[in-house]
Structure formats: C-alpha cells, structure tokens
C-alpha cells in the first residue's frame, strides 16, 4: 500500500465522519419476517454499567426462553426481538437513547428501563409522548406521579417502601426475640433515594407510627472519608437496631468495618437496609460474608420460593453467584410484555398498553418473577405487593419475608 495513513488524515476523517455520518443506525439489519420489537434502555457504560448488565442478562434470558418456546402464540409464533440502548452516565444520554430508539424503530411495541430513577424520568418523558408502554423497576414516586398513562412501575414506590420497611422489621424482631424494639439509629447519605426514604421516616410520620425513638440520626454527603464520628454516636446511644441507608458501596463498607472495629457487628446492633445494592455480589466481594451476616434489607423484588429452578438456570447461564433484583426484573419485564402481547393479540403499542392496564396475572413466568399479582392501578403502580425482606445468611442474601415467599427463616441478630 503506497498511501500513507497519516495522523492528519485519520483525525480529519474522524472529524468529518462526525459531521456527515448519515444517521448512525447501521446496526440491526437482521430484520426477520415475523418479529415483534421491544426495547431496553439501561446504563451499559459508566458507574451503573454493572446493574445495566445484570438487567440485560435477565432480559436476554427471557427473550431466549420465549422464542425457544414458540414465540408469541397469539401472533402466530412471532419471535421477540429486543433492542438495547445505553443510558450511559447522564440523564441527557438516557433521553437521547430513548429518542433514538423511537426514531430508528418506530415499530416498537413496548420497552423497559432505565434503572436509575432520574434516567427513567427522562426516558419516560419521551416514551409517554410516543405512547409507548414502558416498564420500570425504578423506585421514585415521581415516575408515576406525573399523570402519565404509558408508564408502569413494577417496583413498589420509594415512599411506600419507606412506610412498610420499619413495621416489617419490627414484626421480624418481635417474632425472633419476643421483644419490640424501642429505639432506632439512622445513618444515611444525602442522595436521592435515601433522602426520600428518610423524609418519610422523619416528616412523614414513619417513626411515630411504629413508636420508634431515633437516638442516632446522621446524614452525610458521599463519599465518606471516615465513619468514626457516625459509628461513635451509635456506640454511645446503643439503638435497638440501625437503619443503614447508603447508596455507594465504599461508604457502606466503611460503616460496616467501623462497626466491627467498635465491636458493634455480628448482631450487637442489628442492621437494616433498603434497596437492591445491599444484596449485590460486589458487596460480598468487597466486604466479605462475615461482616454481612445477618444484615437485613427491604427490597422491591428478590428471588423467591417457587423460582428455585429458574435461579439455578440463571446462575448456570451467567456465572453469577446468585440472582438479584436486576436480573429478575429484566426477566420479568420482558415476560410482562410477552403476556401483554398475548392478551392484545396484535403487535400494536396502544393495544399492548391497554392490555397491561387491564391485566391481572397470578400465574405464569411474568407473575412468578414478581411478588404479588401483576395488576396495575390508574397511576401505573402495581397493587397488592408485599414488602420483601432478604437477609445475608452464610454469604448469600436470601428472601426471608413474607413467609410464603421465603427461601429461608429469618433470624434477628442478637447478642
């Protein structure tokens, strides 16, 4: 080759390419005759990439399951095709991803995403205007507070979880020890979901209702550099249990290690958290099973009784140590869309949306993927959902409440 590829020509080409790139939609030319397209937007790069990947593992598995079992029967065995878009690390990228999906694929019939509440808020601003039914596991109340008609929240909202977590924790404590806890400690960061959770406890009457007295109440701005002052307060006040609301793993690790250092771990002060990150494999890797043993956390969705075979299949397929909320919801959302397509009997987004609004599923893969029936109210929130509690037991977070869905018996860590 005579022509020298100079740095200049490469850069010029790159710059030019950016200018004239005629619609960056060259992928996905594998259109088949009978497919129905659904979408998933998830953070596949950036700080939340891992969660996005877990979601994707679940949804990929669901698509494979559906297609290998004969596709959508009501549509003559049509296969499901799932299109992924990266929400990246900002609301702007998430919104762009949604707009791009809709522009490139006007034939979408539904979708799911985008994990982080603020991403979901931005994405649904686009999907709502396009009247595309959209499922999400995000917790924020704002998602279904906007009067949107095409957004369906499969997780119980953050406020509801905040209201339900404490009464359930107290029930667990009473059942295990015969004593009702009287005092609570709260350590939280000031990011979106802990703040709304904490607000419900303090201003929303969450503490008063269950008669708990907050003897430690600390809010910090992540990242935490030293947990000593926080944990020192716990040591002197000795609450009956400690509510830990952190959203970043390093902060969580610092608090747990400091508790151990102050001899408050291993149940001296029982720990209760909220949210799926408290059950992530990464937490196990960084903190280790010993410090985690006994840690309870409330969560929207967690592997339950009746899913044993599914859990094993997921672990085998992905190599993950255990199934979590993200993989489960990724699977479940696709399953819900599939059921909606069966009910609608047409690859039409308006009919799919209507089918989701009216569905009431108690059996089948979709219903099995979530606690409680798949039934949405006017706002797009699921009805009759129980609060799930999981607990770290011997290095695995297992569902311990409600009893009928539990895979293990809970224990209230005590001295």
């Amino acid at each position: 080759m005579n022509r020298k590829l100079t740095r200049r020509s490469v850069t010029a080409g790159l710059a030019l390419g950016a200018l004239v790139s005629p619609g960056w939609g060259i992928g996905l030319a594998r259109a088949q005759t009978k497919t129905v397209k659904i979408a998933m937007i998830a953070p596949l790069s950036g700080p939340w990439a891992r969660q996005g990947q877990l979601l994707r593992m679940g949804s990929d598995m669901a698509v494979d399951d559906i297609n290998s079992q004969g596709g959508i029967k009501a549509l003559g065995g049509a296969k499901i095709e799932i299109i992924y878009a990266d929400a990246g690390d900002s609301t702007e990228k998430a919104k762009n991803a949604a707009q791009r999906l809709l522009s490139d694929h006007p034939d979408l019939v539904g979708g799911s995403g985008a994990w982080l509440s603020s991403f979901t808020l931005a994405v649904t601003e686009v999907t709502e205007r396009a009247q595309l039914p959209w499922l999400t596991l995000s917790y924020s109340d704002a998602i279904t507070n906007r009067g949107f008609k095409f957004v369906f929240q499969t997780s119980p909202t953050a406020d509801w979880q905040a209201a339900e977590t404490l009464p359930t924790a107290i029930k667990l404590a009473e059942a295990a020890t015969g004593k009702r806890p009287k005092t609570i400690g709260i350590i939280q960061d000031n990011t979106a979901s802990p703040v709304s959770f904490g607000k419900q406890l303090r201003e929303g009457g969450g503490l008063d209702k269950v008669g708990l007295k907050p003897v430690v109440d600390q809010i910090f701005t992540p990242p935490l550099s030293d947990a000593t002052p926080l944990v020192d307060k716990v040591r002197s006040a000795k609450p009956d249990f400690l509510m830990l609301l952190t959203s970043a793993m390093p902060d969580c690790k610092l608090v747990l290690e400091k508790l151990d250092e102050f001899k408050l771990s291993k149940g001296k002060v029982p720990l209760v958290g909220n949210g799926a990150p408290f059950g992530s494999p990464e937490l196990l890797k960084t903190i280790g099973p010993e410090l985690l043993e006994g840690l309870l956390f409330s969560v929207a969705n967690w592997p339950m009784k009746g899913q044993e075979e599914f859990i094993e299949r997921f672990k085998k397929r992905t190599g993950e140590p255990f199934l979590t909320q993200d993989g489960l919801c990724g699977y479940g959302d696709v399953a819900i869309l599939k059921e909606a397509l069966e009910l609608a009997g047409a690859a039409d987004k308006l009919k799919v949306a209507e089918a989701i609004r009216t569905m009431n599923l108690t059996t089948g893969p979709a219903a099995q993927s979530f606690p409680g029936p798949i039934k949405f109210d006017d706002k797009g929130r699921r009805q009759d959902v129980p609060m799930i509690f999981a607990q770290w037991q011997k290095g695995v977070p297992v569902t311990v409440f409600p009893t009928e869905l539990a895979l293990a018996k809970p224990f209230w860590p005590s001295v």
């Binding site: 200049r8 950016a18 990439a49 762009n96």
Partner: protein, 595 residues
Amino acid sequence: MRTRAEAGRQRWAILGFAVAILVLSFVVLKSAYYQLVLTQVLLWAVLSLAWNLLSGYSGYFSFGHAVFWGLGAYTVALGMLYLDLTPWISVPFAALVGAVAGAIIGYPTFRLRGHYFALAMLAYPLATLYVFQWLGYQELALPMKREAPLLYMQFEDPRAYVVLALGLVVAALLISLKVENSRFGMALLAIKQNEPAAEAAGINTWRWKMLALMLSGAIASIAGGLYGVVLLVITPETVFGMLVSAQALILALFGGVGSLWGPVIGAMLLVPLAEGLNAELGDVLPGIQGVVYGIAIIMIILWAPEGVYWRVLDRFSRRAPAPNTPETAVAGIAVNVAPLPRAPAPLGGSLLVLRDVGISFGGLRALDGIDLAIPEGGLYGIIGPNGAGKTTLFNVINGFLAPDRGAINFSGEPITGLRPSQICRRGVGRTFQVVRAFPRMTVLENVIVGAFVGAPDDATARQMALAALDRVGLSAQSSAVAGGLTTRELRLMELARALVPHPRLMLLDETLAGLAHDDLDGILTVIRQLRADGITVVIIEHTMQAMVKLVDHFTVLDHGRLIASGKPDDVVRDPSVIEAYLGKKWVDRVAVSAK
C-alpha cells in the same frame, strides 16, 4: 480589533450559519432524535461561547461554568414547580440569576490568578451541587402541561426547540462579536496577554473582568434554563457536574479558544461525535465510545493545539507577517519620527518626587528610604546590579506595589496607593523587562490597547495608535502580526503602546536588554527623540555601557538603597558603585590605577 468591514462579514457569516441550521432542521433532518441532538449541539455551543467570552478572551480559565448552567436549569425547574412560572419568563430571568451569580463569584475569585483562579472556580459548582442536594432537590421533573403546552414551552414539534436554541446561539455570537470589536474585547485580550501591562496601560482590569464574568454567567444560565426545558428532568449531578464544566472548556479548546467560531465548531463536531459513538457502540461494546471520543480529542489537539479554527485559518489564509527588512526600518526611524503633538515642557522643576519610600517582602527590605526627585524633561538612568530593587522601584511608582512607607508625588499630586490604571491616566507610561506582545494581533492592534485610556471612541484610539507607531518608526509594520516581529520591533511596539496616551513620564524597564549592537542604535535614537519631544524618561538598566552614552543623570541602587547619584561620569568612578558591581577588590585596584 477587527475593521468595520470584517465585522460586517462576520455578521453575514452568522446569518449564513443560522440559515444553514434552519435548513438542516427543517429540510434535511427528519427524525425527532436528530432534532434533539441538534438542539443539544446548539445549547452546548452557547455554554461554550459563554465560557469563551470570559476564558477565551481574558485568559481566566474557568473550570466551573457548570455553576451558571445549573443555576439556570434550577431557576426554570423550581419556578415551574413552586410558582407555576412559565419558562417563557423564567428562562430570560435565568440570565439575571447568572449575572448576579457572576458578580458574587467574581468578587472574591478575581483576587486569584492563573491556576489558582481556575481551581477556585472548580469549587463553585461542586459546592452548589451539595447545596441543592441538601435542599432536597435531588430529582426535579418538570410537570407535563397537557392543557396549555405552548404557554409552558412544551412543543409537540422538536424543531421549535432547535429554533429557540439557535436564537440563543445567534445572540451569543452577536454578543461575542460586539465584545471582540470593542474596547471591552481589546481590554480582555490585553488582560490575557499580560495583566500588569494592561493595568499599566490604563485599563481598569478589575472592571472588565467582572463585566466579562457577569455577561458570561448570564449567557450560560439562559442556555442552562433552556436545557432544563428540553431535558425535563434535572438532577444536581447532570447540571452542576464536572462533565458540564469540562464540556464548556473542551468544546472551546477543541474548536479554537478565543475565537468567535471556535466554540460553535467544537460543539458541531464533538457533540454529534460523542452521541454517534454512544448510539453505535453503546450496546455493542459499552464504554468503548468514551475511549474513541478521548482518542479523537487527543489526536485533534495534537494536530491543532490551538483548536480547529486557528489551524484551518493558518492553513488557508495568507496571514504572513508583512515583509520588513531591518536596514530600511532602522534607516527610516530618524526621518519618520513625527513632530510632537504638544509643546515640550520647560526643563527644571521636579516631575516625580519620592520621599523616604520603603517596601519589604517578608524580612527583605527591597526598597529602603528612597529619596528621589526626577526633574521634568530629562533622561534619567537608574542602574544597579541584579536584585538591587530597580524593577521594584518602578512597580512602586506605577502602582503595582503599594509602598510600606513614604510618599510619591507626580506633578505635585500624591499618587501613593492609586491603581496602576489611575496612575497611567495621570500621565505615567511604562514598558516591561520582558515584552509581552499579543502574538495573533497586528502591531496596530497591539498599540490600540494602550490608546483606550485617552481616546473617547474607538476611531480616535486608532488614529492615536497610528500616530504613536509613526513616532517610533514602525508604521510600515502596522499590519504585520506581532508574532513575527524581531526583538527590536517588539521593543519599539511596546514603546509605542506606552506612548499612545501621551504620557509625561515614561518608565522604561531594561528596554535595551537583549538587543544586538545595530538594533541598539535604532532604539537609542527613538529614546533620545522622546526626550527632545519633552517627555521625561526614566530608564532602568543593569549594564552601564549603553547608559553612560545615553542619560543625563545616573542613580545607582544597591540592596534597595540609593548609593550614588549624579552625572554619569562621576557616578561610574564612585567607589561604592564599583564595589556594588565588582566587589571590594576592584575598588582597591581602581584606586591604585587612579593614583
């Protein structure tokens, strides 16, 4: 400063750009997605233009423009959520918020310079981010207004946002153009090149910097406000985050910092590139888009370190320096020296009087009990070995440093403690040890900067600058780019800049340093001519040779003290002077040889 015709051409270019964007939006691009990306391109371009207005022109790099962007976005979101305020009102109002924020931020931060300023600016968005988190505004969603969407800037047609964003870009470009073509822009450019020199040339640097930051903040805020309307969901991280500040900076640096079109070029290239990579690679190889983006930026910066705009301009325009042969230029000086614009002042009487002036830096007494009376109309030399306090003396006279004690009178008026620009306005001009030219500006433009002090309008400033160039014999080079000048020409140019407001006293700081013998004669001719024109000249040198031939009166400084003063021939024989320069041994030797 551009000529009127050039400014006119730029206005046509802006109009052409607007038409091109409208064609792109209404004719070429069909999907809502491309319209959304185009809107973002334009909004980021506005932010980058705002950044460029401050940092590109004045050289005060801001790592914190996200603070304005975020305040704009939150103004709109909070206005809509809590006051039901339509963005039609809150977006323009955001400009006011940005300007006020600029004033509040600028007041303490402009005490810092260089890297310290840049790092201090970094703190504002980060601090504000936490404030908004603490206030509980972690996630704000602008409510969907189904009943009156137009009243709340919620359009069905995405092209409406393109038009709004384009309006902002055009406004920002016109403002930038206006600034570039006025003394505002020249003042900022002068600050960028050498702030002390600008201040010494009579420019009130504090005022212009504050104005620039306020204007920049207003523009960034209004764009942030519209960004909030477009995105509909606002979190502190998205609008105050480090990435926003970086975006403003990267786009301008990439496109061409300090140029009108640089930020727009940067946004037009990088924003679609990033988004395109995200779309193409985001689901295939997540994260690789960031790598490719980074590599593209690095390669282009290697290829065009000053930005795409300047690189392309250098390549296609013939902005070669005007031909100048040293011989003709030197020969021309004597004849070219223009007649004095006013009558020479009579000799005698002290123009500048220093009484017991002293200043210390920590334990070092840089100046100690200086008493000096400089008569009007002479050529006065101050010499001394390195570190004797010569430049410090000049800095005290022209206001860079306030003396710890003592008093300075100029023309019978006390000037102790005044700002350099105020002292300049009273008739004290100065040059510097190291000439700092504005390399991309022409010689004439370089000199015009000095003319703003005395000129009521820009046209007069131009006339005065031309006259000053004529006086130093640089007329032939007036349209040459300063970057191509020789040391001698640079010295003359700086001299012209100091001469332009007709000073009564000129302080020349080592003007002769680093010049070849032939060049020296040319400069000496000009300096003598200044004296002949009635300007009092004080010149600093540390080499005696050239000075002995030149000056009427010598003052010798050593360790911050006056050690000798008098006629040049007498001073060079003074034992204390010889000791200061050569050491004790030489004093003895000179004494022996004199016998």
